[in-house]
């Protein structure tokens, strides 16, 4: 990401799009795509063996493969956090260093990287956490001998006798996570990383002056982009092919058919998991955003001990690992409790929805609280002065201002849980299997080509939904399309 953002590279828009792929094609879908592309009988593996016959067919497996997959899967984190931080660097500080005679390397190490230190550390820690708790990648490409804590907890949870062992392991994860958070906070407190410029200028990419280094940078950037792009292209292409092509991995012009899509869209057993995920992710996103819109408003308006405690409680799922939380739910609600009207929740349809909502709360709250902070308090005073009652001024004045954040959080939450596997695998009810869990099952060899074909279609549909939601809600796609039509009309008018 530093490469892409800091240096001037040709075809940057294309590269950026490639690096954004894990935002719409992530988690279990990505693992599935990597397995089909780089796995034992994968597209790339067959190509490589054709050129290097001594290469073992299972080259993409074990620690290296998980590391490889996780590295590329996590570029999405960097895309969101690192890019914003990088763009907020004041370019005048770079120009000042250049004016004082600093070399490009010196500027990078002494001016740019120190300013990015907090976000780099946060990203590293976030990635560390993601890796520590990963489920899909270790299970799918890790192989039999590869064991990480996440899948181990899952195995122990599935047997009632060893649930306490699973609890101890997840507690260990929780303590570790708290330790990491402490490191982030201590690091942030230690120095000033905010720009003190009165008038900031936007950072501009630096040209690599040495031709050889420049070429090397381009090769690396495009190679990484290709690694990201290839599984996506393979999944999209093979989703439109027949069983035979998927089985042989040999593409011909007459291999293409809509058979897989027809099956997924017409066969109830094929589209049911998909609908289940849409309903769960949709309901959870709506509930989390609705709850946090109210909670963030209350906490923003009334600062007292009670709201401070409430805020801390809302951040709890962020501090505790998802696995620990899921296990906590399983253990806590396996017996009737008064808080859920005396019914056990474990194994019901509700428990996964509850878990989805709870894990969405911290981020939703954080962004909505920031949105409330950005609303000029005078607006409500002005409405009050003109005779508006608090609820009226909230609905008519505040809500339209924070609506973009509300929609963005709905989109991000919905996308985040649409293909979820890591949390769902602990809590799903067999009568309503979410698509993430089904993709994982389908990737088992016993499901054969049929499972792979359906997985491709699921992945493409999920990806299209993710991309559309992000485009329309997060990237203001409606306005962009309107502007495009306006331009076209102008051209035709001329």
């Amino acid at each position: 990401m530093l490469f892409l953002e800091y240096f001037k590279l040709k075809g940057k828009q294309f590269l950026t799009l490639c690096y954004m792929i894990p935002l719409v094609f992530g988690g279990i879908m990505l693992s599935n795509g990597y397995l089909f592309t780089y796995g034992k009988r994968g597209f790339v593996t067959r190509f490589l063996i054709g050129h290097f016959p001594n290469l073992p067919a299972d080259w993409f497996g074990g620690f290296g493969a998980v590391l490889f997959l996780m590295t590329f899967a996590c570029t999405a984190h960097y895309m969101i956090f690192f890019r914003n931080a990088f763009k907020s660097i004041d370019f005048q500080t770079v120009e000042a260093a250049r004016g004082l005679g600093a070399s490009d390397f010196k500027i990078l190490t002494k001016v740019v990287l120190p300013a990015l230190k907090p976000i780099l550390l946060t990203c590293i820690i976030l990635l560390f956490q993601t890796g520590l708790m990963a489920m899909a990648a270790p299970l799918m490409v890790g192989g039999r001998r590869f064991e990480t804590i996440g899948p181990l907890i899952l195995t122990f949870t599935q047997r009632p006798a060893s649930r306490m062992l699973a609890a101890v392991l997840s507690l260990f994860l929780g303590v570790f996570q708290l330790g990491l958070l402490f490191v982030i906070q201590r690091n942030e407190r230690r120095g000033n990383y905010l720009s003190i410029s009165k008038v900031k200028t936007t950072i501009e990419p630096t040209r690599i002056k040495q031709p050889l280094l420049n070429l090397g940078a381009h090769v690396v950037a495009y190679l990484f982009a290709l690694i990201n792009l290839l599984p996506l292209v393979v999944v999209v292409l093979f989703s439109f092919t027949d069983f035979k092509t998927i089985s042989t991995r040999e593409l011909h012009l007459n291999s293409f058919s809509l058979e897989n899509y027809q099956r997924v869209l017409t066969d109830r057993s094929a589209y049911h998991p998909f609908l289940t995920s849409v309903v769960y992710a949709g309901l959870a996103a709506i509930a989390a955003v609705a709850l946090m819109t109210i909670a963030a408003r209350i906490i923003f308006k009334y600062r007292n001990r009670l709201t401070t405690v409430l805020e801390f409680l809302l951040y709890l799922p962020w501090i505790l690992p998802g696995l620990m939380f899921a296990l906590g739910l399983v253990l806590a609600y396996s017996r009737p409790r008064w808080i859920v009207f005396g019914h056990p929740l474990t194994g019901t349809l509700v428990i996964m929805l509850v878990a989805y909502i709870v894990v969405m709360l911290p981020n939703t709250f954080r962004f909505l609280k920031a949105a409330y902070f950005s609303v000029d308090t005078n607006l409500e005073d002005a409405a009050k002065n003109l005779g508006a009652k608090p609820i009226y001024s909230f609905v008519k004045i505040v809500l339209p201002i924070i609506l973009p954040t509300i929609l963005a959080m709905l989109a991000l939450n919905f996308n985040g849980k649409l293909g979820d596997y890591d949390l769902s695998v602990f809590l799903y009810n067999p009568i309503a299997k979410p698509v993430g869990v089904v993709i994982r099952s389908n990737s088992n060899p016993e499901y054969g080509v049929d499972g792979i074909a359906i997985n491709f279609v699921y992945s493409v549909i999920l990806m299209v939904i993710n991309a559309l939601v992000l485009f329309f809600v997060y990237a203001d796609g409606k306005t962009k399309i309107k502007q495009l039509f306006k331009k076209e009309n102008k051209k035709s008018g001329e």
Partner: protein, 320 residues
């Protein structure tokens, strides 16, 4: 028309306004002038109803409004940031209060168009989102919105502070004209002395939550009641009786601690001056301000500042 009686306003334990009493006449343009943190905005917000005084009472036309809800006070407010609703058009901003008052569509239309005409806003501009209007147009929309429900009083909290110097000057004139044409009692808050002098019928100069002087602009400037008012409202040469004696001016009944203030524009100098009260001095500092020069002159060991109009005929230099 507006009467503040022994008003005290506290923020927790901090007393922002200790004991304030003053009155504003009907139709008057009354300015609360003072430095940041002196309590002028607090006083204004208490009048509008956003703050409740801990003691005392506020009356409008003899009616005690101290505990009256904001929307029943008939006080229209223009905010420092204008506080225009960013998701609405100029029309919807102006019509906001009328819609809440459940006026008919026809009534709203008539009133908004009438106001738009008065503030010189075209129907096309009215349809625009307020974010797409210029700073001056936004300010006029804010005034129109505050006046839409025909309030008895208009209060304005530093409405020109976010604008550049040129626009500020032209809008000052417009505000004065609006106030005259609407004939509405206006209470205006500013820290800008020039703005206060130019706009106001009367000014109350605030310092540490208390009024130092109330008076017409000329009175405030030329007959400042306190040292704070004199220095806050403009530049002044501060002299003791001894300084005056060195200049050949004798003041009877003056003690050593008495201070005398002379505005810089009252100190004039010339190579060929033949007027009375002429004393020889030397220019020890000069700054060029365009229309006039800012001079430091040393006369008999006393430094005086003087604003002197620059003319081609007589140019002065340092050391002269």
């Amino acid at each position: 028309m507006i009467t503040f009686k022994n008003i005290e306003i506290k923020y927790d334990d901090f007393v922002a306004v200790p004991n304030l009493s003053f009155a504003v006449n009907e139709g008057e343009f009354f300015t609360l002038l003072g430095p940041s943190g002196c309590g002028k905005t607090t006083t204004l917000r208490a009048l509008a109803g956003f703050l409740k005084p801990t003691q005392g009472s506020i009356e409008i036309a003899g009616v005690d409004i101290t505990a009256m809800p904001i929307d029943e006070r008939q006080v229209g407010m223009v905010f420092q940031s204008y506080a225009l609703f960013p998701t609405m058009s100029a029309y919807d901003n102006i019509a906001f209060g009328l819609k809440i008052a459940k006026k008919s569509k026809a009534e709203i239309d008539t009133r908004v168009l009438e106001l738009a005409k008065m503030i010189d806003l075209t129907p096309e501009q009215l349809a625009k989102n307020v974010a797409n209007l210029s700073g001056g147009q936004q300010q006029r929309v804010a005034i129109a919105r505050a006046l839409a429900k025909k309030p008895k009083i208009l209060v304005m909290d530093e409405p020109l502070s976010n604008l550049d110097a040129k626009l500020r000057k032209s809008l000052r004139k417009e505000i004065k004209e609006f106030q005259k044409s609407f004939g509405i009692t206006t209470v205006y808050v500013t820290h800008d002395q020039e703005e206060a002098l130019m706009l106001s019928d009367r000014i109350a100069v605030f310092n540490k939550g208390q009024i130092e002087q109330i008076g017409r602009p000329q009175q405030i400037y030329n007959e400042s009641a306190t040292e704070f008012v004199c220095k806050f409202i403009g530049e002044a040469n501060s002299l003791t009786a001894a300084d005056l004696a060195k200049l050949g001016i004798e003041v009877s009944d003056a003690s050593a601690s008495d201070a005398f203030y002379v505005r810089p524009e009252k100190v004039s100098f010339s190579r060929t001056a033949s007027a009375v009260n002429r004393i020889a001095g030397q220019i020890v500092g000069k700054e060029f301000y365009g229309m006039y020069g800012y001079y430091q002159i040393e006369i008999a060991g006393t430094k005086l500042i003087s604003f002197q109009r620059e003319s081609k005929a007589e140019q002065h230099r340092n050391g002269e």
